[in-house]
Symmetry: C2
């Protein structure tokens, strides 16, 4: 049953019929066209309102609690159940007011300087305005012909970024590989996996999909298991290799080799390894070079997921983290995480674009080819990913690289690393706490040390869960998240918001200390009472 | 081998080491933080520049040729091979100048009022500014807790839109179903297919993935075949049912039933049907109700892809196109195509969200849950799609619905339908031409009639290919695309650009007529010479 629609349009309902067109004159509008919907002057007027709105938001960002105190339904219950039939007077002004008064107060403010949870979603002036410009131009660059400048700028910018991140030539267009800009790492991993799968199935036969096995560590982002499922890999054919504290939760080549050999012995076919530079929980770094040595003899496709830490590779002091990367098949990172490119902007490079195109390419006459492109080796990006419609993300990435420069991006990364080092030092200076896993980039994983008289390891996790909850409940405090690795629950302080300054980090630590004092004080009282 | 990097940073290269941090004082910057990268005043200043830039672009849109005359490499050869180390003075101003002077002239201008190719990518002031606002706020609403207002606004707005499009209650949150906003229809189809696949495999066993068969028509968008491949369906298990001119290229329930029965008889398992409302080539409409009657007994998941024509359902005169939709499992449409929502904005509704979540859901402790949400039935949208990172697209869609209103959207759709009717009438009035498939929405498919003395049907396609090429070569002319259906090549005139007015359509037709006269005149001369 179709719901009752309040917007019944009696003047035209009478004309219902296949493709019936309301008689002009009966319809409310007078003009044949509605061109005022993209009127240049109206855009200018409302656009300036939006810019001022966002600017005011940035200016007052520090005043918001990072995470709102709201309960499910708070917004749904405020809004009407149906869209308006006709806009109210100055609908845009009213809507902006509602964004300010009822939507923003219900947001988690990812741009807050006190947002230390998850990984950053680092905005910048140029990143945000690059998005605005892209939305304004609004092209759909699915093929070279569908917007030649967009396709070419994408080719240029992925090489620019690849060089800036010290990736090997073999992954760049300049070296016979190539890159593309997608929305997220989840997409990049899935595209790489499907390319690898189809290449392997072409060798062994399509009906052996149930024999394929994929590998990751128990620290790999769930995006990989999700991608494997989507790609039709059997659920129990995804091997999450166990990692341990003494290896800093990095994937062990020895364990991997054992797992692959066991699968081969069982008649299965190793297909794909997703290695990570900077895991989600603790930013562990899998040893790319050694892993390649394991995967190569098995003909396994090695993809590097550097979603977060890929941005850090812009600094020479981090490039040893990807030693051996020359041998991988594909590599991806999220420039929207820590490289100022605003959501969304995942860059993926592959050594053999032909494998991507073989799996994801399509030919249709109705996709206009341009006579100018015939005989040329143009890139039709629709064949490099899952979708036809795609956004012109290259413009934003190009603007970010051009307007901040490679050194500017290094400064940005290093400023956060330095603040994380400071935070780490403060944690180490308080003997009640411990840094659980060595800091590598700008994430510090820490916890209250197990206290023997309060139950030691047995209660440590609960103690730290309580600490995180209390810290996040402080309205003017930091917002942090957690990891649970090797059985240890820890707090994560990811420095990375563009607006974060030293004093925010220092204040964040002060809140953690204070809340720890409260919790430990309560434990002490309970302990004393129980011991009596 | 890593490429030579020009941006060697000698002050810091010496400090290479695991996570080494350059000694402050040696590094170029003085401040610990780089907060000027999101400075409110800088954003305001540059933001106003961007708004003026886009406004100027809209104002001058009519002056650009829709499609540029450029050759592959034109832009790559202009740009340096590497990103700058440090930005030039006023880098943003220079970059905007380059966008105007070298990038825009190399674009296909999808917002041009003379863009009649493919389907529209209809921009609006509100859609573009909604994107800008979203980029400025830059949150990552993967769970309710990760941005409560964003998750709730998405729930509200998909119901608003579903009601406005006259979808059945069963697909809305209000009726036990629900919706989400993705990037593209390709993603929507893939998500639905994976949900259907996993539901079926849970019944028959995961190792029977090779027995699954999916169905579409030979007019279904290639996105479906791509999705089927990605999901691991065997390449030869995608049945593209043949369509014919007398059915207006709609999917025949009888043919579908025969194909399904043949597969069942062969021991295979029918899984999924992708039906289309408004096919890409000719906007054919598959008969949903009758198809449901075929799929239901086989337990086949029916998804409706209304990527283009879904927008037209905002007008009551088109709702009979989806008669029977109450029985489908899922439905998707691209509000970025014809509903003013700018790229990207695909809305998908499902009857049973639990099937999506079963296939795509993940549980990880490090994804912060909010204590406030415990025990409540909140939607964590990460479990409804392929990706974790996602953009806050609901804000844009909400603004479009609120600021234009349901009637405003109807006016917009109807204005294009009326212009398409006018174009169709002009084609019919010229006896050299024929409208090949009945116009249903705002696409007219037409061609020069086969001319017996010039070879009749044998040369008709070449004649029309030449016509399209000539029409698109007229610098100030329209830009159209083609269809090739039932062996007939035809030109497609898709009216849908927001800026298109009656005179653009009339002028476009004049160009087509003039070019046809030139081509037919040449043919006449050749014919006369050959007949002598």
């Amino acid at each position: 049953m179709a719901p009752t629609v309040q917007c019944l349009d009696t003047a035209t309902v009478a004309t219902v019929g296949k493709g019936a067109v309301p008689v002009v004159g009966q319809a409310p509008e007078k003009k044949m066209q509605c061109s005022n919907l993209l009127d240049a002057d109206e855009f200018r007027r409302q656009g300036h309102q939006v810019i001022d709105f966002i600017s005011d938001y940035y200016g007052s960002m520090g005043d918001y609690p990072v995470h709102p105190s709201v309960t499910p339904g708070f917004l749904r219950n405020l809004l009407p159940a149906e869209a308006p039939c006709r806009p109210e007077p100055d609908a845009f002004g009213s809507a902006l007011k509602d964004v300010r008064d009822i939507i923003l107060p219900g947001m988690t403010h990812w741009q807050s300087p006190r947002h230390f949870a998850h990984f950053p979603a680092s905005s910048s002036t140029i990143g945000a305005l690059g998005e605005a410009l892209t939305a304004g131009i609004n092209v759909v660059p699915f093929t070279w012909a569908a917007s030649p400048a967009a396709a070419e700028l994408e080719m240029v910018v992925v090489d620019w970024l690849g060089k800036a991140l010290h990736l090997p030539e073999s992954l760049l267009f300049a070296g016979g590989g190539g890159g593309t800009i997608l929305g997220t790492s989840c997409e990049a991993i899935l595209c790489a996996l499907v390319a690898a799968r189809d290449k392997k199935l072409a060798e062994i036969g399509e009906n052996r999909i149930c024999d394929l096995v994929v590998y990751c560590s128990d620290q790999t982002h769930f995006a990989f298991r999700k991608a494997a499922r989507i790609a039709g890999i059997q659920r129990d054919h995804c091997r999450a290799i166990h990692t341990c504290h003494e290896d800093m939760f990095a994937l062990s080549p020895t364990e991997l080799q054992a797992a692959m050999q066991a699968d081969v012995d069982a008649g299965l076919v190793p297909l794909f390894l997703c290695a990570t530079i900077g895991t989600t929980q603790t930013t562990a770094v899998d040893p790319i070079g050694e892993l390649c040595a394991v995967t190569a003899p098995h003909g396994v496709w090695l993809h590097v997921d550097a979603a977060y830490a890929g941005s850090a590779l812009v600094c020479p002091e981090f490039t040893h983290m990807i030693d051996g990367v020359e041998a991988v098949e594909s590599f991806s990172m999220n420039a929207h995480k820590w490289l100022l490119a605003n959501n969304d902007c995942c860059v993926m490079w592959v050594k053999k674009p032909s494998a991507l195109v073989a799996a994801l390419g399509t030919e249709q006459e109705y996709i206009l080819k341009d006579a100018a492109s015939e005989g040329h080796d143009v890139v039709d990006y629709k064949d490099w990913n899952m979708t036809l419609t795609r956004r012109f993300r290259a413009l934003k990435m190009w603007l970010v690289l051009r307007c901040y420069g490679v050194h500017g991006l290094r400064d940005h990364i290093r400023s956060h690393v330095r603040m994380a080092v400071e935070f780490e030092d403060m944690v180490r200076a308080d003997e009640r706490f411990e840094v659980v896993t060595e800091r590598t980039f700008a994430l510090v994983c820490f916890r209250i040390r197990p206290v023997d008289k309060f139950g030691g390891q047995k209660t440590a996790n609960d103690l730290n869960r309580a600490l995180l909850e209390q810290v996040n409940a402080v309205t003017s405090g930091p917002y942090m998240s957690s990891a649970n690795v090797g059985g240890m629950f820890m707090l994560r302080c990811a420095v990375g918001s563009t607006l974060t300054e030293q004093h925010h980090v220092a204040h964040g630590w002060k809140v953690v200390q204070d809340q720890a004092s409260v919790i430990l004080g309560k434990m002490e009282i309970i302990h004393t009472l129980c011991s009596k």
